[in-house]
Every structure is written in C-alpha cells, then in structure tokens.
C-alpha cells in the first residue's frame, strides 16, 4: 500500500493537528516533542546570539559576529523594498527577523536524523498549534503597529474604498492568520508525510530528492511568512494612498 506510513504519520493523519503525544507534563501542561524541540532551538539561537555579540567590535573580528551581521543584513535587504524605506524596515526588524530565523530553524529541525521518530525531536512547524501561534502574533502586531502609527484613523481603512465593503474587509483580516498558519503547517507537514511514505516504499535513497526539496521549501516558507508579515505591517502602517 502506498500510504503504508510509519506509526507516527498515520497517527498524525488521524488526529490532524494534534499529532504529538505528550512526553511529560509540568504543572498539568503537557509537554510534547514539539515543545522540547522548540526549547532546544531557543537555547541554540540564544546561545549563538550571546556568543556572537559578547565582544562586539565596530569592525567585526570574531567569525560569529561576522556571520550574524551577514545574516541580519541580508534579511534587512529583503525587507527594505517591501517597507519602502530602510528606517521603517529597521523599526519592525526585530520582530520580523526573529520570525524568519525561528521558522527557518524550526523547518530545518525536521530534517535532522530521527526527527519525528525519536521522542523529543520533531519539527515544531509541523503542528498547526505552533504555526497558528506565529500567525496570531502577526495578527496582533499588525493592528498594534497600525493603531500606534495612525491612532484612531487606523480604523478608516476598514471602510475603504467603499463603506459597504466593511464585512469583507473584516473577514479578510481574519482570513490572513488562517492562511498564514495553514500555508506553513501544510507545507512542512505535507513534505514530512511525503518523505515518510517514500521511506515506506523504498527506504534506501528514494526519499533523498524529496528531502533536498525540503531544504529549499523550508527556506522559501520562512521567507514567504516573513514577507507576508512585512507586507501586512507595511500596509497597516502606510500613509493614506
């Protein structure tokens, strides 16, 4: 059977979003392997940032600082044309760059050997809960920044271009986080499932092309999520056209 997937994937298909079992619980909160992977990523990223910025020089001497500056500058270069202005892009840069780095790391965590099989290791973005969390942050950040820059005039964009489009505009606001989270979740989860079913067909070499594609898709999805978040924020904070 083509879809003779490993146990975890079949489980995933059955339970939809909540396909990770709890490893242990803290104060009644269940901790699944997604959460532990996220903790690991957080430790890695925080440790890396701390080590890279511990002895900061104007002209970077340490390799870590050089690398971090290169990464952040490339992200800033991507955001600038969408925001329209480097000053604006720098204002929202911390949030958006954090999204990019965290989503990229989460996507790539799914490519580690044993991810999804070993307890405590699974790509965090392959659950709807995590991606929905990201999308909700984007949703609130958009409205917060819009209100902060434009004040009460921000609500005017709901009745533009015509007042009778108000319901549609409101629906659009709520469809955005839905599509953001579903896109990220669907891509990572779908890629994982395809690799799992190819693995069940022929375990040797056959899943490799799909995993190579997974490297590309992980980058593209992190890129797209960040781009869309940038686009939403820049639309909310832009002056009237």
């Amino acid at each position: 059977m083509f879809f003779a997937t490993p146990a975890y994937a079949a489980e995933a298909a059955e339970h939809g979003a909540e396909h990770s079992q709890a490893l242990f619980s803290i104060f009644g909160l269940q901790v699944s392997s997604v959460v532990t992977t996220m903790w690991g990523l957080m430790v890695l990223i925080i440790l890396f940032s701390y080590l890279a910025t511990k002895r900061m020089n104007k002209v970077p001497e340490s390799r870590l600082q050089n690398f971090l500056e290169f990464v952040l500058e490339s992200i800033l270069e991507l955001l600038t044309p969408i925001m329209g202005d480097e000053k604006l892009a720098k204002r929202y840069f911390p949030l958006l760059a954090s999204f990019f780095i965290l989503i990229l790391a989460s996507n790539y965590a799914g490519l580690l050997p044993g991810a999804g099989h070993l307890p405590g290791l699974q790509a965090p973005t392959s659950t709807l809960s995590v991606t929905a969390g990201f999308a909700v942050v984007v949703f609130f950040a958009t409205h917060y920044y819009g209100l902060k820059t434009k004040g009460i005039k921000y609500f005017k964009h709901f009745v533009q271009p015509f007042p009778f489009l108000l319901p549609l505009n409101i629906i659009e606001e709520f469809v955005r986080p839905l599509s953001l989270s579903l896109r990220l979740y669907g891509n990572v989860f779908g890629e994982e499932m395809v690799v799992a079913s190819l693995f069940a067909l022929i375990p040797l070499f056959l899943p490799i092309p799909m995993m190579l594609l997974g490297i590309l898709f992980g980058l593209v999805q992190a890129f797209v999520f960040t781009m869309l978040a940038t686009l939403y924020i820049s639309m909310a904070t832009a002056e009237q056209h």
Binding site: F3, E14, S179, Y185, G186, L228
Partner: protein, 74 residues
Amino acid sequence: MSGIIAIAAALAVAIASIGPGIGQGLAAGKAMESIARQPEAAGEIRTALILSLAFMEALTIYGLLIAFLLYGKI
C-alpha cells in the same frame, strides 16, 4: 464507504493542484520573460514571483490538508 473516502482524498489533492499548476506556470513564464527583457530588475521580479507563487501554492496545500483529513477517516 472507505473506498469512496479514498477516492475523495485523491480527488481533493488532484483537482486542487490543477489550477495552481497552470497559474504558477503562467507566473513563472512571465517572470522569466521580464527578467530576459530587463535583467537588472531580476532581484525585484524574483521577490514578487516567490510571493505570488506562495499564494498559489497555498491553494494546493489546502487541498492536501483536506486529503490528509479524509485519509485519517478511512
């Protein structure tokens, strides 16, 4: 009954990939044309292309999710 669900799952992802396939082909073709005509604008065109491809991709992904949901019901 489970046979019908299996066919429905297959159809969900199959039909959902037709439209985005055509759309992505058109978009990528146009983008390549414009890069060939104006190579200095390649960077901006590529960003816009990836964004629009992601929007189209999402439609297929919705179909795929429905297929997974249906597959779980077999």
